[in-house]
């Protein structure tokens, strides 16, 4: 699968002309799906500028290939959702975007992972610098055992922020829709907040380093529906300024909150994850090209 094919999925027509049943027969062995670039119909909405692009990326843990030959793109100011059954490598893939997998000694990635055209895994790139540009919110809220204020200020401090810290902290907490709840207790522990508040604190902490991309690894899986909704509303607000890539197991969340969806699954023969298709979310959920996608989003599989 090459990059051009992956990129083309973005401007694929909403009403794909290939019936899912036929597509799946072709798609399982060859992986790529959307090859009909501009063949019929117009894109349903204007295309964003690509900010993250993966070209032929494979991820290895030791000799095990966890993800194979992935080529996907994420456009600026889009929310791109990664969906697929457990173990298909969504989180592994997400963690290549900010080189978080470097923490696993046996990890290795091949292919190109481009942020604004720059290969994140090239030798001259310092992962510490990458993570300033690509923030991350984790599955379980992980505030530091510090005050709310210091949680937000941590990132700016380690990155040598020179401006007015009080203003930045307030700005980020407002952006994360948390300010009104915590403005009177900034000195209290970030861990004393509720789960939903903790996750919004983690989002505030992330936007404090002014990243270009925010990665979210199942950010709502530990939260109740009300907190989940708050996070989703927040994402809709945040995408005006940032690009968001989210891994989710919640189909409704992907449908509600994302603009583009990447469907992944695991190859049963070698247990490696791969991309089934990438398309606009509305297409993935209403008219997927691949039977696997249709089965997954409709709850028949995974």
């Amino acid at each position: 699968m090459n990059a051009a094919q992956a990129g083309s999925t973005l401007d694929a027509p909403v009403d794909g002309h290939t019936p899912p049943a036929q597509a799946s027969a072709a798609a399982i062995p060859t992986i790529h799906v959307a090859t009909d670039r501009g063949s019929d119909g117009a894109p349903s909405r204007p295309l964003g500028q690509t900010i993250v692009e993966l070209r032929g990326v494979s991820c290895y843990y030791g000799s095990f290939r966890a993800v194979k030959d992935v080529s996907v793109t994420a456009a600026k100011h889009d929310v791109t959702a990664l969906i697929g059954p457990s173990g298909c490598g969504k989180s592994t893939l997400l963690r290549t975007f900010n080189r978080m997998n470097d923490l696993v000694p046996s990890f290795r990635a091949t292919g190109e992972i481009l942020l604004d055209g720059q290969d994140l895994y090239s030798k001259s790139v310092d992962p510490v610098a990458v993570r300033r540009r690509v923030g991350m919110v984790f599955q379980k809220p992980n505030p530091f055992p510090k005050s709310i204020y210091d949680n937000v200020a941590f990132g700016p401090r380690v990155n040598g922020f020179k401006g007015n810290m009080d203003e930045l902290v307030e700005h980020c907490l407002r952006k994360a829709a948390l300010w009104d709840e915590v403005k009177d207790k900034l000195k209290q522990s970030g861990m004393a907040l509720s789960g939903g508040q903790q996750q919004r604190l983690c989002i505030a902490r992330t936007i404090a380093i002014e990243p270009e991309v925010i990665l979210m690894d199942e950010p709502c899986s530990a939260l109740d529906p009300r907190s989940t909704l708050q996070i989703e509303e927040l994402m809709a607000e945040l995408k005006k300024d940032y690009t968001i890539v989210i891994v989710t197991h919640n189909m409704q969340q992907a449908a509600r909150a994302s603009d583009v969806t990447v469907m992944m699954t695991m190859d049963t023969s070698d247990r490696a994850g791969y991309v089934v298709e990438q398309a606009e979310t509305i297409q993935i959920f209403t008219n997927p090209k691949n039977q696997l996608t249709e089965d997954y989003v409709s709850g028949r599989f995974g």
């Binding site: 900010n98 993570r131 379980k140 530091f144 380690v158 522990s189």
Partner: protein, 299 residues
């Protein structure tokens, strides 16, 4: 499974035995209570003996006086000052070296055979009798480095005695910090050093403090290694770290307790009370520091 299902419905498949379970619970509770009772009784017996014998001898002159051959005129000031100076130097050595070694093991060393060998050896060192450290201190600090039997030699030796304890406790505290904390710091663009300093060490600080305090209390109570390196038993001048003889409270207790006269038993007990107060003050201080360090931590 099929066989179980096949049993007649009349025969119940669960036997709650609530009475027996409640009894088991009560027995276990009793055993735990017994365990703590042994400790408390021993502590009370010890304290009572020491207080009854020692309190009559406690007064300001005893605390602020110089030692004398006459029990009624003797004081412990040089030993008290010696113990405090010793504690400060031991702490000054142990704190950075112990935490540094633990951080290296927990955060920097790879998870390989060499690291595990190192850990096992440190654990073994914690079990080495302190008198062996005394012989080592005598050979290295007193003779080889030529420092002589001064307070600093004693402090360095005691630092070696308690370092394994500090390292093990700190290592465990660091390892108990959830991996999510490290990832959280890295994800904000922290370098490894910033991650360790800003995220892991603050999260582990209460545990590290506990280890250091326990170890310090042990160091304050040690006499054997100091006797080996040549601490004095009768000092009439204030100790100085790098010159002159020195003694500490446990050695005073040791020498006085050996005397046959009953009066010396009394001043030995009084000295023990002073040691206990010293350790109590140290623990109180540690409790305050610990509370401050852990005010934001709620796992």
């Amino acid at each position: 499974m099929a066989a179980t299902r096949a049993t007649p419905a009349a025969q119940p498949r669960f036997e709650p035995a609530l009475m027996r379970r409640r009894l088991n619970g009560t027995l276990f509770y009793g055993a735990c209570l017994f365990a703590i009772a042994i400790l408390i009784l021993a502590l009370i017996a010890l304290l009572l003996t020491v207080l009854v014998v020692g309190v009559p001898w406690l007064n300001v002159d005893f605390i602020t006086g110089m030692p004398s051959r006459r029990p009624t005129q003797t004081g412990i000031l040089p030993a008290l000052v010696g113990s405090i100076q010793l504690a400060i130097i031991v702490g000054a050595i142990t704190f950075p070296v112990g935490i540094g070694a633990a951080v290296y093991l927990a955060e920097y060393a790879g998870d390989n055979r060499l690291t595990r060998l190192l850990q096992t050896n440190i654990s073994n060192l914690a079990g080495v009798p302190s008198i062996i450290y005394g012989i080592f201190g005598l050979a290295i600090f007193v003779r080889l480095l030529g420092l002589g039997p001064v307070l600093f030699s004693g402090a360095a030796t005691l630092a070696l005695v308690i370092l394994p304890l500090v390292i093990i406790a700190s290592f465990e505290a660091l390892k108990a910090v959830p991996q999510a904390q490290r990832e959280g710091a890295y994800a904000l663009g922290a370098s490894q050093w910033q991650m360790v300093r800003g995220s892991v060490i603050p999260a582990a600080a209460p545990g590290i403090m506990t280890g250091i305090i326990l170890a310090m209390a042990r160091a304050i109570g040690e006499a054997a290694p100091l006797v080996v390196i040549g601490a004095a038993t009768f000092v009439t001048s204030m100790p100085q770290p790098f010159q002159g003889g020195f003694t500490v409270l446990p050695i005073q207790v040791f020498t006085w307790a050996q005397r046959p006269q009953a009066d010396f038993q009394g001043i030995a007990a009084a000295t023990i009370i002073v040691i206990l107060v010293l350790i109590f003050v140290l623990n109180l201080l540690a409790l305050l520091v610990r509370a401050r360090l852990s005010r934001h931590i709620q796992w």
